[in-house]
Symmetry: C2
């Protein structure tokens, strides 16, 4: 059994984050030592790595909670998992589109001013003052 600092090192999650996950019920309340320190086993390490992997894919904590619940009932159909992934992929792609559009606008704006002009002549500020381009 390891303490929370060790778990933090092994998994790369900060100590506060681990405590946060416990409070948010993503991991079970840990056993405690006599001195009230949290104690973890290998299963805890793996569950935390699972969560970390999900987070690296930008899944939200509620989404992860849902996956963990499904994981616990291995007989269930996994349609729900698929639906969640599909929705998540859609969101990510929508965000990429938004940012790509945004990037074009920013570059265009940036081209409107070369260095060493005064603010008065600055195309960026002038253009920002004009009516916004329609965009989310």
């Amino acid at each position: 059994m390891i303490k929370i600092g060790e778990l933090s090192k092994v998994t790369g999650c900060s100590v506060q984050t681990i405590r946060h996950y416990e409070k948010e019920q993503l991991i079970a309340s840990a056993e405690r030592s006599e001195g009230n320190f949290r104690l973890y086993d290998e299963a805890a390490v793996e569950q935390l790595l699972f969560i970390k992997h999900c987070r690296s894919l930008d899944l939200s904590l509620p989404e992860i909670r849902q996956l963990l619940a499904l994981n616990r009932s291995p007989g269930a159909q996994c349609d729900d998992v698929n639906r969640m992934m599909d929705r998540h992929i859609e969101q990510v792609e929508a965000r990429i589109q938004e940012l790509t559009k945004l990037n074009e606008q920013l570059r265009k704006l940036r081209r409107s001013c070369s260095n060493r002009r005064t603010v008065k002549q600055c195309g960026i500020l002038r253009n920002l003052s004009a009516t916004p381009v329609s965009s989310g």
Copy 2:
């Protein structure tokens, strides 16, 4: 002179957001009517639209504050504006890269499970449990 609700309609910013911008010093404290209602003129409308345009470009409130300050000293060099834009563009492009990578991983993961399998056989959950792919 118009009241905050009218300003909200004209600019498309919510009433609370306008009050928030005042608290955050993005717009000056509004004049008040006898009954203590905020009163705005045309200049306020334009400044709010400026802010809204900046927000649509994902500039942060502190960044916008900086732009507004520069706007007020029209003799200053606008190098600072350019630096800010360059940094911002970099950030947006980095985020696009991240998301693109993420999207590839999600699609790959999604392909590992077709519908109507049980959770036990679900490739998504299996793969999520494996050691994470290195990624921010």
